[in-house]
């Protein structure tokens, strides 16, 4: 077997589409998440699509004791080991304002949980001297805005972590890709307010796989979001603080 992807947060629509695409080119898959019955169905799907191997493992970002078995399993894999992290949670900002205790969960799911997992698996990956790590952050992390700044700050923290991780892992031949999706047509956005330049999980996955092939460092998807965020980052704070979007 040439490659195995360990996918954290495998129940998300983007993660499922990514696993399906990797299955069709014969990669091995270890799908991790909390809803095991749902992930079980995805592993069966991936096996039928041509994955050399597809396994389910339980993980809860809020319980680091669940990381151990996955790290152990990774040690036994032959060939390149890749990690993709799709975990995250986004309660409405208003819900957070009503119950600030929600903040910790959001930060763990999107930032500290993934960071801890990646730090724990780093020595293994460095020893292998190959492979890729893909972390899913968000355009929401590029600048905090009134609508979802807790989620945005968690993603920003993870993006900064990935930047340093790339700096470290690149020295051992492990590639690190930071993905910053704009709005994607998933259950999270379905029925919500109409958003511009909405992408689909399939299109995002096609962009991700192309970026991995080209060993890009940061990917905005849909691509237009790179340009939009460039402009948004340049807006002076005195003006930005009065804006609503």
């Amino acid at each position: 077997m040439s490659e195995t992807w360990i996918i954290l947060g495998a129940t998300s629509a983007m993660a499922r589409a990514f696993a399906q695409a990797e299955a069709e080119v014969g990669s091995g898959l270890i799908l991790c998440g909390r809803r095991l019955d749902d992930i079980e169905a995805t592993t069966a799907d991936c096996r039928a699509r041509g994955a050399e191997m597809a396994e389910v493992m339980a993980i809860d970002m809020r319980d680091p004791t669940t990381f151990g078995p996955i790290l152990e399993r990774a040690k036994g894999l032959v060939g390149a080991v890749n990690v993709a992290i799709f975990t995250g949670s986004m309660p409405e900002q208003s819900a957070i304002d009503a119950d600030p205790s929600l903040i910790e969960g959001v930060i763990i799911d999107s930032h500290t949980g993934p960071a801890r997992f990646l730090t724990e698996i780093a020595p293994q990956l460095e020893a292998r001297g190959c492979g890729a790590v893909m972390g899913i952050t968000s355009v929401a992390g590029d600048r905090g805005r009134i609508g979802n700044y807790v989620y945005g700050s968690a993603k920003a923290g993870f993006a900064t972590y990935l930047s340093g991780y790339r700096n470290r892992m690149g020295r051992s031949g492990v590639h690190v890709l930071t993905v910053k999706p704009g709005p994607v047509d998933t259950a999270m956005t379905w029925g919500g307010p109409k958003m511009p330049f909405m992408s689909t999980p399939e299109a995002v996955v096609a962009d991700m796989r192309a970026a991995l092939r080209k060993r890009r460092n940061i990917l905005y998807t849909a691509k237009i979001w790179g340009l939009i965020m460039l402009v948004i980052r340049m807006i002076p704070e005195p003006i930005f603080k009065k804006m609503n979007f």
């Binding site: 129940t11 069966a44 699509r49």
Partner: protein, 432 residues
């Protein structure tokens, strides 16, 4: 489960309806309040429309649940597309036994329309290769097989009226490779064209017909015959996408006539043989994403009928009427059908089927209305997957098993929660 206010259209984009649509990502997320299921939205008319009501978009239920490489039996969620099955399984030596002209149709939709393919005269319809179906009805989930005679036959080709098709088991067919050997020959006029179709022994056989040619050339076209081929070649990557609605004149009569004349001569007079990737042969139009936008904002209608073999004269008269009107688009297809059908409301019958697209303009509606009447007089029927214009009184005689279907559906969906704009327009569910 969140509901989204959506303006839903069929593939023809001539009909439109506002509905609340849920789109579950997994079977366990299906909402408690049910409505008709919709799939790839490749039915042309209002089969997937439920104006002012609810609908369940099944396209994210796209997992292959199990596959036995020894027997070729596969269980899938209903939102898996035919194109996905071909792409995934052809390299493993298996393919859907029956495939419609687009790979974007879902398995659920293919069952609910009992679709046919270019091999209908040999393989029958899609429903003949389904061995089990899981239905979600108001009362709960039920798994059915051909042994559930009435419910089975009411479900296959049953327009989703017996419940939401959530899963299905399909028997795939063997394929030695991933390509087709295609032989193309010109037919110079109607009589020659029909004779060539009658004489064809090919496993896959379909004709493009120039629906604008008149006089001697009336009914000319290109006969395509194909066999599975042992060579392997990946499908061509995605082609262009139609970015916006085309202007109205794009498919005006002189342009279509000129296009068809060139298209006809694409194949040399002596014919030719080519090897093509399977997807290119089965789904020729899928390479142009959103090609329905070529018809502009007002959309288009497709007329598709089948008439019995004995009605050769009548179908020729229909073709003359179409050619004389000069309203057709380049998309027109003629083929022979075998007897294979798997449900009470299945479309196929032994004979000839003709499909012609018409831009949605003034006189097209009247012409299609006359063609539907002529179909009924010829003892034929029209295809629900394509129809957007028929009236209730034109349907009864075409579908002799309609009464049996209504009885089974009344039992399966007593509350009428799966009714659609199409079943209401055509009064299909009857009065009980």
């Amino acid at each position: 489960m969140r509901w989204k206010e959506e303006s839903v259209t069929g593939w023809g984009r001539a009909l439109r309806a506002e509905a609340e649509v849920a789109r579950p990502e997994r079977l366990s997320d299906l909402p408690e309040k049910l409505g008709p299921a919709i799939g790839g939205r490749r039915s042309y008319g209002d089969a997937a429309l439920n104006g002012g009501g609810r609908a369940i978009d099944m396209t994210r239920l796209d997992r292959i649940l199990s596959f036995d490489p020894a027997s070729g039996k596969v269980e899938v969620e209903a939102g898996v597309t035919i194109g996905t099955l071909l792409r995934v399984f052809a390299p493993q030596g298996w393919m859907p036994a029956v495939m419609p002209g687009t790979g974007f149709a879902t398995v659920g939709g293919a069952i609910a329309m009992d679709v046919h393919g270019k091999n209908h005269h040999h393989a029958g319809s899609f429903g003949g290769h389904v061995t089990a179906i899981t239905l979600l009805q108001e009362a709960g989930e039920v798994r059915i097989t051909p042994r559930n005679r009435a419910l089975w036959q009411a479900t296959i080709g049953g327009l989703g009226q017996t419940g939401i098709i959530t899963k299905a088991v399909l028997q795939l067919a063997r394929t030695p490779g991933t390509t087709m050997e295609v032989r193309e020959r010109r037919a110079e006029g109607w009589d020659e064209h029909l004779a060539m179709l009658d004489a064809s022994q090919a496993t896959y056989c379909v004709s493009w017909i120039d629906a604008t040619a008149t006089g001697e050339a009336m009914g000319r076209g290109i006969l395509e015959e194909a066999e599975l081929c042992a060579t392997r070649k990946p499908a061509a990557s995605h082609g262009p996408k139609v970015p916006t609605d085309a202007p109205g004149f794009a498919l005006s009569a002189p342009i279509v006539k000129a296009f068809n004349a060139i298209y006809f001569r694409r194949v040399p007079a002596e014919g030719r043989s080519v090897v093509r990737p399977m997807a290119d042969f089965f789904f020729p139009l899928d390479r142009i994403h959103d090609w329905n936008r070529l018809y502009g904002k007002r959309g288009f209608h497709q007329f598709q009928c089948v008439v019995p073999e004995a009605a050769k004269g009548q179908i020729k008269t229909m073709m003359q009427e179409i050619a004389g009107a000069g309203l057709a688009s380049p998309l027109a297809v003629l083929k022979r059908m075998g007897p294979g059908r798997a449900g009470y409301l299945s479309f196929p019958m032994e004979g000839y089927t003709l499909a012609v697209d018409f831009p949605n303009r003034g006189r097209a509606g009247g012409l299609i209305g006359r063609l539907i009447d002529m179909t009924a007089e010829a003892g034929g029927r029209i295809y629900f997957a394509k129809d957007s214009l028929a009236r209730a009184e034109q349907i009864g005689a075409m579908y002799p098993d309609l009464g049996k279907w209504q009885a089974a559906v009344a039992k399966a969906d007593p509350g009428g929660i799966f009714e659609t704009d199409m079943t209401r327009r055509l009064g299909l569910r009857g009065s009980e």
